[in-house]
């Protein structure tokens, strides 16, 4: 194989810094911003939640973003190859993340496919008077109890195929012509559509009641440890850290790039969108509460229940423009979802390209196609909803969060590389990283992530998640968690055929250029 291609190869690059930022923001802004943040904030102190939330953003979210950008930028590789020069066994973290991206991509695409169908259902509010029955029985045809696949549901399968075709075509066009161009359209589009939605929602009768529920501060909440876990959890999951996405995206940056400044913009942009979503969702929910004469707490929920049950119900009762409101809401879910799915698939494709030297086209066809196939075979089924729910819960709690914990401990305590990485980031960033960055990553983040994992593990052992049967959870939950770890170990044990570069020599060129440019 052409060895010269590995060290200083012609790696693709983002066209502009704005293009990279759009892609990074598009990845961070996903379904969780729209359907998770509003409820989490409301449920954890309302207006008072802002305090732990902002502290979490500054002591975990942005420092982790900077860490991932720096690793990707310094070592110029997707997750596994970027960890390789840190220490050979550390590449296992990267493969772990790749395997998790594979799992998440398979079901994340399914939820986007639902949103695609609901964008259609919004015309004339085809979900009727009982959106819950419509979702579960008419649309998903979900079986009564969790289990393994029995039969397929065509209404989910064909939009799912569509979602995969669009995503893979974008990734196949490459970083600059595919991912960057798509996000330069998606992100402004998403913001404009969502702003129209929010403005409409704010003019609904009862909007103030909803906002009052969201922003009334319950200051006692900030003495509750669970509220702090919720704040750190929201920041962590919402920013797409721990997936290897930001490492992968940063590996396509130019040699001189402001990493810290970019992380600040991406972090604040993600939170800004969440806040906007909170305002939009609660204004809408307030309308419903006032119309039905019930409390906001009886209407509001999160996740699938909010998007596919509560919102359809509310849309059906709107005094006017119901179809437009539905199109905007589900259209936003689709756009936010696809821009995140692209980034998840990019991790898998880039990692395989780095590892095998495959060209982009074949890599997308084989790996992206394989991921799509797994998604299409498993999820548009009567049992798909349960498999999705279990896999999502377990891979987030014992995959993404745990990998985040292992990453910060490995980089800061085992390999002691934070100093090197800080110097690298400082060489090309306008805002210098000080000791606070090292402290957040070596002390605060490990404690919080460890606490989060321990806390959810305790709940897990007390009772089965969603009361699903143990046999089912052992496969769709724990089975998936263990399978991704086994995959990571196996991939690490297989030696890289091409000469693997060691830490300093590999990137001496890159680092020197950056540093001389600085001085």
């Amino acid at each position: 194989m052409a060895e010269h291609k590995l060290g200083v190869e012609q790696r693709e690059q983002w066209g502009t810094r704005a293009g990279f930022l759009m892609a990074a923001i598009g990845s961070a802004i996903g379904l969780g911003n729209i359907w998770r943040f509003p409820y989490i904030a409301y449920d954890n102190g309302g207006g008072a939640f802002l305090l732990p939330y902002l502290i979490a953003l500054f002591t975990a979210g942005i420092p982790l973003l900077i860490l991932e950008y720096t690793i990707g930028h310094r070592y110029r590789g997707a997750a596994p190859r970027a960890f390789l020069p840190l220490a050979r066994p550390a590449q296992a973290i990267g493969w772990w993340q790749v395997a998790m991206c594979f799992v998440i991509a398979t079901y994340y695409a399914v939820i986007i496919a639902w949103a695609v169908r609901y964008t259609g259902f919004a015309v004339g509010q085809q979900w009727g008077d009982d959106p819950e029955t419509f979702l579960m029985s008419d649309f998903l045809q979900a079986s009564d109890s969790p289990g393994m696949i029995s039969s397929y549901v065509g209404g989910v399968a064909w939009p799912l195929i569509g979602v995969w075709v669009v995503t893979l075509v974008i990734v196949a066009f490459g970083i600059r012509r595919g991912v960057e161009k798509a996000n330069k359209i998606f992100i402004p589009l998403l913001i404009v559509l969502f702003l129209i939605l929010v403005v409409r929602a704010l003019f609904l009768p009862g909007a103030a009641t909803g906002l009052d529920a969201l922003f009334s501060p319950d200051w006692a909440a900030i003495t509750d440890g669970q509220v702090w876990i919720a704040a750190y959890g929201q920041i962590f999951f919402s920013l797409s850290v721990g997936f290897g996405i930001m490492i992968t995206y940063a590996s396509y940056l130019r040699r001189r790039a402001d990493l810290t400044g970019s992380a600040l913009v991406a972090g604040f942009a993600n939170s800004s969108f969440e806040l906007l979503a909170g305002i939009g969702v609660f204004a809408t929910v307030g309308f419903m509460a006032v119309q039905s004469g019930i409390g906001v707490n009886d209407v509001v929920t999160d996740g699938i229940g909010l998007a596919f049950v509560a919102f359809p119900q509310i849309i059906s009762t709107l005094p006017g423009g119901a179809t437009l409101f539905g199109l905007l809401f589900f259209g936003c879910l689709v756009v936010a979802g696809v821009s995140s799915l692209i980034s998840i698939v990019q991790v898998i494709v880039s990692s395989v390209q780095d590892r095998t030297g495959m060209r982009r086209g074949p890599a997308v066809a084989v790996v992206g196609g394989g991921t799509a196939l797994a998604s299409i075979l498993l999820f548009p089924t009567k049992e798909g909803l349960y498999i999705l729910d279990a896999a999502d819960h377990f891979i987030n709690q014992y995959g993404i969060a745990l990998a985040g914990l292992v990453t910060v401990i490995t980089v800061s305590w085992v390999l002691r590389k934070l100093g090197t990485l800080r110097d690298h980031a400082n060489a090309s960033s306008a805002v210098p990283l000080g000791r606070w960055w090292v402290i957040t990553l070596s002390v605060i983040t490990p404690i919080i992530l460890g606490w989060m994992t321990w806390d959810s593990l305790r709940t897990e052992l007390a009772s089965n998640y969603e009361d699903y049967p143990t046999s089912f959870l052992l496969i769709a939950g724990w089975g998936v968690v263990i399978a991704v770890i086994v995959f990571a170990v196996v991939m690490t044990l297989i030696p890289w055929r091409r000469t693997a570069p060691d830490d300093e020599h590999f990137h001496l060129n890159t680092v020197e250029t950056a540093e001389t440019g600085r001085r």
Binding site: L211, S216, R256
Partner: protein
């Protein structure tokens, strides 16, 4: 809306959206150096 809620709404908007504006301004003040000799963006 209660006074407490209005204050927290305004504080949230100011801090989060203000933070975004400030970080964008900060980044724009420090443009990255011009394009390097480009590797091909396509293949």
């Amino acid at each position: 809306m209660s006074t407490g809620a209005i204050i927290m709404l305004l504080v949230s908007i100011t801090l989060v959206w203000g933070g975004l504006a400030a970080s964008i301004i900060q980044l724009r003040r420090h443009p990255d150096p011009g394009p390097e000799p480009e590797p091909d963006g396509s293949e």
